[in-house]
Symmetry: C2
Subunit: 469 residues, 2 copies
């Protein structure tokens, strides 16, 4: 069948069945699958079962609800197309769990009673990630309706613990390695750069997290009696933290930038072309002005350069009024965002060396490494990326952009490292859809264009050949 | 009567009546007069009434339990000696309230069941300040027994709110100004420098307390998404706090030292002669080494030089694990210890100016002035001090030392400023008697010598003439 005709048929199918598709999504959204709250354990089961039954309706011969020590995983495999046993295999990853809903009183309508207003669907999980997961199911249905079969092999891996850092997915990745074989992983759990700008995310920063404890006197001391002779752990910590950046906003840890791969001129040019209003950005987050590393634009600093942030600090008295003490200890939580080819373990070592060399001998210290995650990038030039870009261009009627995210999605680098396959982050949410916050919603216009783009993407991959990197 | 005979009579009297005196003190210590706990309001009344009845037994014609909006004050006035209407008036200040007793399980014997072990009396309040108050009452009784009358006019002002910053005493000082007229105020609520070294405290540091709030984005931001462009309030605060001291340990606030009166060579020499082991001091408080302002000894830094300490710091995430945020705010509590002639209000202004000039324009800030107290010193050369020193020398058999305290006793500078009279801080406690902690105790040997010294002091003042400064 001709590509253009197939696209048109899928488009017509999606339009004709939109009400049913949205009803199915609303039913999915009604399940309060909050992974972090033990009281919702049954809802987690219900959401997984609901997804599984939907996948069976779609004709997947293999559909499993896989128990874990936490919430179940849903896995489905369409098997290879009957007429093409060597067709490419696409793995679609997503998650059915959602964030808690407090503060409840700030929701205009209840979080688990989805409603459609202004062509947006409002509910917890609408944008992150039940809406996008549902798009994938609907796109597969439309694809099958348009061409009579699935022209690629599809595997779906939908987990229930993404919002709590996927503690049991990693075990599964190791155990079920064979089952997960594929040619490309596609994930719709990121956002478009802005309304009207279809986007593919080509990079995520990695992370290193640690804690610094400065240990002073055996117990809190009276700051009147002892003030003037005892090193105050808060002073020591403040000086140490202040030493972590230089006057140009660079991280002042020897060797920190050694493995940083410079941004390519083409990437910098592409990012420079993206609309970005520093004034509007400042207003949105409520700061008088931006700061950061000299010589780089804000997008470059957020997406392509490493950072060291203190995420929390505490020590001594925090109550009302005054308590005149020199505290026994002071503490800071730090995280670094890492870019290729920085290694979390090496960064931990460099930081510890800096701490050890900078602290005075008047205190003791402890440095605890808490977590690490590798940065991830993929080339916009990769054939799977180019095919996705062409599909987006076609269905959104606008040139897609390759963006990065400053955050880390540990599961992406884990999947990349475990499966050794390219990952395409094809996001249809918008940055202001209030994920993790009251009044989360999802724009139906992007859902419609997105479903079409997914069908177009699969048709393009089926027309192949696509050679892996 | 001859001085030597009077002293001997008083000594004999105190020895003969020691059991009764200690029984009375034990009864006083049995009253759980914890000023900060509302559940003990009745105990506060009982303690005040107990003191008042004891003062009436001593023959004071004026004894009042004065209600306040908080706990009552006890005031007594002996009136002038019948044979000497122009005798000096001595005001004795003390307090009958005590600190809470937790952690209760660390007491070897219950805090309100006083026991005598190893010639020490153990109970909450034994050293701070019921024991010393009781010494004064017993010394007056012995004085009267020895010479047949009180040869000076005595006023006693014993409050019940010292441990909670004397909130209602200040009002009373203003209202009862006339009633409080005196020539000298004597307070026994400080410690001796060390066992065997009778001490007079000739100076207290003042205090300035404030809070610094650094205000960044409107709410916590994701440190992955925004890291690299938004000024982190914790970083800004750390840099500000680090800027408050220079490499020589001096407070780096322009003008901070302008009003600091240099220590006199005689005072520095006297302090240099005091026994002080830096090693033992470090071991006691559990630090590897001391720190502080270059060019001054530890005692000089604690007693005679001003400080700026951060007493508490907080911002962002303090829980288990990691939360990847750039916090909206960061906060620090600071106090300065001040020495003559620094003024708390001026210090507040200088600090605020330094903050304003040092903070980047990427954040906002708030600076809150919380409390202030003037430093206080008196000259060891003052006749009231010399008479006290002579009495100590005589009864302890060792040369007394003039020490200072690094802490602040706001009531001392308040009394000094309100009454305009010299204050003699004649302390009989020891530094390690665990005041405010489990197993508080008071050494009976110092109590005995101290009661004799008080009698000797009053006899010396009665022999006068003593000219005020």
């Amino acid at each position: 069948m001709e590509y253009a005709l197939a696209i048109q048929k899928a488009r017509d199918y999606l339009a004709a069945h939109e009400d049913r598709i949205l009803q199915g999504l609303q039913e999915f959204l009604r399940i309060a699958s909050i992974s972090t709250l033990p009281a919702h354990a049954q809802d987690m089961e219900r959401a997984a079962t609901y997804l599984a039954s939907r996948l069976r309706e779609l004709g997947f011969p293999v559909v499993k609800v896989i128990p874990t020590a936490g919430h179940p995983l849903v896995f489905a495999d369409s098997g290879p197309p009957a007429d093409n046993p060597t067709a490419l295999t696409v793995m679609i990853y997503g998650h059915y769990d959602v964030q808690p809903v407090d503060p409840l009183d700030q929701w205009e309508t209840p979080p688990f009673e989805p409603v459609i207003r202004d062509d947006r669907i409002y509910a917890r999980g609408a944008s992150d990630d039940k809406g996008p997961v549902w798009m994938h199911l609907a796109a597969l249905e439309a694809l099958r309706a348009a061409v009579g079969r699935l022209p690629l092999r599809f595997k779906l891996l939908i987990e229930g613990e993404e919002e709590i850092s996927s503690p049991h997915l990693y075990t599964y990745l190791l155990e079920a390695r064979g089952e997960l074989d594929c040619d490309v992983v596609v994930i719709s759990d990121t956002a478009m750069y802005a309304p009207g700008i279809p986007s593919i995310c080509s990079g995520l920063r990695g992370i290193f997290a640690g804690q610094i404890d400065i240990i002073g006197p055996a117990h809190d001391l009276h700051s009147g009696v002892y003030g003037g002779v005892v090193a105050n752990p808060i002073h020591v910590l403040a000086e140490l933290l202040a030493s972590f950046h230089d006057a140009d906003g660079r991280v002042n840890i020897p060797g920190f930038y050694d493995s940083v791969r410079p941004l390519s001129p083409s990437e910098r040019e592409a990012w420079a072309r993206l609309p970005f209003s520093e004034t509007a950005f400042c207003e949105e987050i409520g700061v008088p002005a931006l700061t950061g590393e000299k010589g780089f634009s804000p997008l470059e600093r957020m997406w392509g350069r490493p950072t060291l942030e203190v995420n929390g600090i505490w020590g001594g008295f925090q109550g009302e009024g005054t308590k005149t003490i020199i505290p026994a200890t002071a503490h800071a939580k730090i995280t670094c965002r890492l870019v290729p080819d920085q290694d979390p373990a090496k960064i931990a070592r460099l930081i510890e060396e800096a701490i050890a060399s900078r602290l005075p001998r008047t205190v003791r210290y402890r440095f605890t490494v808490m977590e690490g995650g590798h940065p991830w990038t993929t080339s916009p030039e990769h054939p799977y990326m180019k095919a996705a870009a062409a599909a987006l261009q076609e269905c959104f009627g606008a040139a897609p952009v390759f963006i990065r995210m400053g955050g880390s999605i540990p599961i992406v680098s884990a999947l990349a490292r475990q499966l050794g396959k390219p990952i395409v982050l094809l996001g249809f949410s918008l940055p202001n859809e209030r994920i993790h916050a009251p009044n989360e919603h999802f724009h139906l216009a992007n859902m419609r264009c997105g479903m079409q783009a997914l069908v177009a993407y699969w048709l393009r991959l089926a027309a192949g050949p696509v050679s892996a990197e």
